[in-house]
Amino acid sequence: MSRMKSLWRNLVHRDRVERDLDDEVRAAVDELVSEKIRAGERPEDARRAAMLEIGGVEALKERVRDVRAGALMDELLQDVRYATRLLRRNPLFALTAAISLAIGIGATTTIFTVANGLLLRATEGVSAPDGLVDIVRTEPRSGPGITQISYPDLLEIRRRTVTLENVFGYQLQPRPVSMRIGGQGASSAFVSVVTTNYFSALGVTAAPGRLFGAADDDRPGASPVAVLSHGFWTRRFQADPAVIGQVVGLNDEALTVVGVAREGFRGTSVVAPDLWLPTSMIGVVESQRGERLLTTREAPWLMLGGRLKAGVSRARASAEIATIGQALELEAPTPPLGGPFNAPPGSGMVDVAARVFLWSAEVASPIPAGMRLIVAGFLGLLMVLVSLVLVIACANVAGVLLARAAERRREIAVRVAIGAGRARLVRQLLTETMLLFLLGGAAGLLLARGMTSMLVALLPAFPVPVSLSLPLDVRVMAFSVGVSLLAAALSGLAPALHASKADVVSALKDEAPGASDRLRLRYGFVVAQVAFSLLLVIMTGLLAQTFDRVTAAGRGFDPTNVDVASVDLSMAGYTEVTGREFARTLVERVRAIPAVEEATLADRAPEPGSRSFGFLTVPGATPSDGQPFFFANWTLVEPGYFSTLRIPLTAGRDFTARDSAGAQPVAIVSRSTAEEFWPGEDALGKNVVARFGNPTGPNPLPAVTFEIVGIVRDLTFGGPSDRALYIPFQQRYMSTLTVLARSSGDRRVMADLRAALTTMDPNMPVLSARTLESQLSGPVETQLRVAAAVAGSVGLVGLLLAAVGVYGVTALVLRHSMILVAIGTAVGLTLGAGAGRLLAASRFGTPAGDPLVFAAATLLFAAAGFIACYVPVRRATRINAMEALRYE
């Protein structure tokens, strides 16, 4: 009989095989007995001797089963059946264990889903994503950031590479443009300029119409065509196929819509464009330097990607790109951006002379290579938080399994007595745990779906259309199953090993040696649970506190009830003179809106990370870093800016209508700037000399001397404050304009701001209209908000799980529970202090050892621990003495 046939027979015709084995063994026993009787033994003695010789019918059968084909699989099936029966018999245990595991596994899977979607896979909607790579140029010395590539470099790479085909380029950040169709007013849309092979390289097809291709030309202005995103087509044109062939005006250029990209494709970054234009139409979004962008290396503006040729590894392509990139940098070094001065500290720039660019080919993902480290670090922090929950859940389940192993000691001893091997028992106990964890894992995967959308909902409204594609793909499934099995092995192994060590004789006699060993293990689980949940609660507290500090007290201004709307005057053709006039009229109109208490204008709203650097010299002060200029963050404002935002004026005066174009240039500085420039002196009446544009560049603008007329409080965004300088809008023009209006009470005036702007000029698209608070949600604050929310919810779950665990152990051993909780708390506090230091070192600037957080967390724990201990103790003291005696 062949091995395969045996396997089939053993697994499929199990019952017959088992019956045959039983018959065979019993026949042998009978044979032995009659043999011994024939030899003259008494029948009882003969039977006993026969049994002794056989070594037990069941044990013998077990030994035969062990050599049979498919023995392992057979046992596994048996174990699974047995485990299912056990779990059904203890539904409460099965349910709580599966739920806590589901939460732990679901949470880790959620974070992995985000990491997978953002970092590990190409964006959705492209075909054969594994062959796609990002061609990346980085400047490692300037830290994380995005370095783009010029169009001539793209052409050179396309020409030189032998490992890649279909090298394409695209604009990472879609640009807002004003769009007009037929006789309607202007609206805004987001446009990304891409090379004509973009869609074919990605394998994206057209829904109706056609995409860019051979018919389109890269020469400037040659192909006035546009492709719509499926979302925009549905939203804006109600999916009307008649739009194809129609002419739309984008920033006053006429383009023909030639097609719609297929549904599901939303571009190659996390920001989804509404329309794509070919490189020849770069002039639409870059009116000043459009054509130059196609010929110069000085202004890089593209992200690059390509496809690996058949049989080429990414490593080989990366090595080739590194060589080509190096050659390109040597052949035509990128001219310095800012002239021969050193980079301002904190500006995110790097000294020109020290810039070294590295080129490589990376796994294609929606997050550009330079930002991956930051995103990965943040996701890592979240992963640590949610992993703690999983660890707590595991410790919990392990503790319960251990307790159940104690209850099942007799059953296990019986199985050992009738001949079950130890390995077999361990395997069987582990199967039960695995089953539990796979149940938890499956539920976790379902939970992850919901949690992922919840996490996305935590993100603030961005001023651009953000598209996150976070699919639950094979990798996520594999991760979730892997985590479940790993967790099961970790938490099931110790109890299983322990239980299988059961000493047959004493177990059957109902004695309990080895119990102290088991208790020690159990104590360990409780200590771990308490320690890790305390750590979780401490981290939650620290993050929540940092979040508070960043959002509320620390800003130095009050964004509540302030709404903002932004336009770019150049989009509707305004000049410096007409733009100033427009600004003055606009602010009058907004102030006339009934719900508006105060209104003002600025070139931009105060926002973390948003800076305009100006070059300053200050008579009597020299920069401490030995550079020729002070770098200051300047903001153009209209009168009323400080009172609208509740920024206190500590000395001097606000700007007035008299600070106009022809009058003496005036400026207001922040308090820390005043102290730096004129320490111990009165800053009012002093002068600063500002140069706008690069003073060492080819066309330096004339320097302007500003007289300081006021000092205001510093603005902070959770970090050190900038050197801030405010200048009247009427004395210095910018085409970007933001109107800020403080409304009374709960009434929001975003719609009124939008209406005022549209009434004044229907041809000028409103770029955004929203609350200032939503605009303030910069990346750091967004990350903190997400981290605090995640930590808060998992912290609560962890606390509950720990309480359940403490309750469980207290019910078992009353004496030690408080001591265990105390030890766990001590360990947790130590871990918490370490975590605090780590968080403090991170970019969030969390306070390291805030005693308040630690004290509050410990108190919370003491309370939870007390309740968890109190209930079983109370129950224990109520035991009826007679019942206890009768039990003995």
């Binding site: 009989m1 018959d23 026949a27 009978d30 032995l32 043999e35 062990d66 049979r68």
Partner: protein, 111 residues
Amino acid sequence: MPMPRNRESLLQGTLDLLILKALVSGELHGLGVSRRIDRMTGGTFVVQPGSLFPALHRLEEAGWLASSWGPSENNRRAKYYRLTKAGTRQLGEEVALWNRITVAMARALEA
């Protein structure tokens, strides 16, 4: 589970050979194989059922033995084993191997 040490440990590797040899003269049930080996070796090797039955099943699954059911002496259903063609071939190979080993061992011990 602790197993009593017995002489079967001597048979490591030779148990298969003995079983195959015992079945050359015709089919036997499990205990019959054990008795035949006992007689063949003059009582030197006593194969305990705990080793015998697993070995029989292993050899059967390897295709060297075939089995059929017949009545036992006590009128129960008993399983009778017999050599297959492959089993006979295997026996030849094992005998040759064994002869080489004994010759080598004898030479080694005389030297």
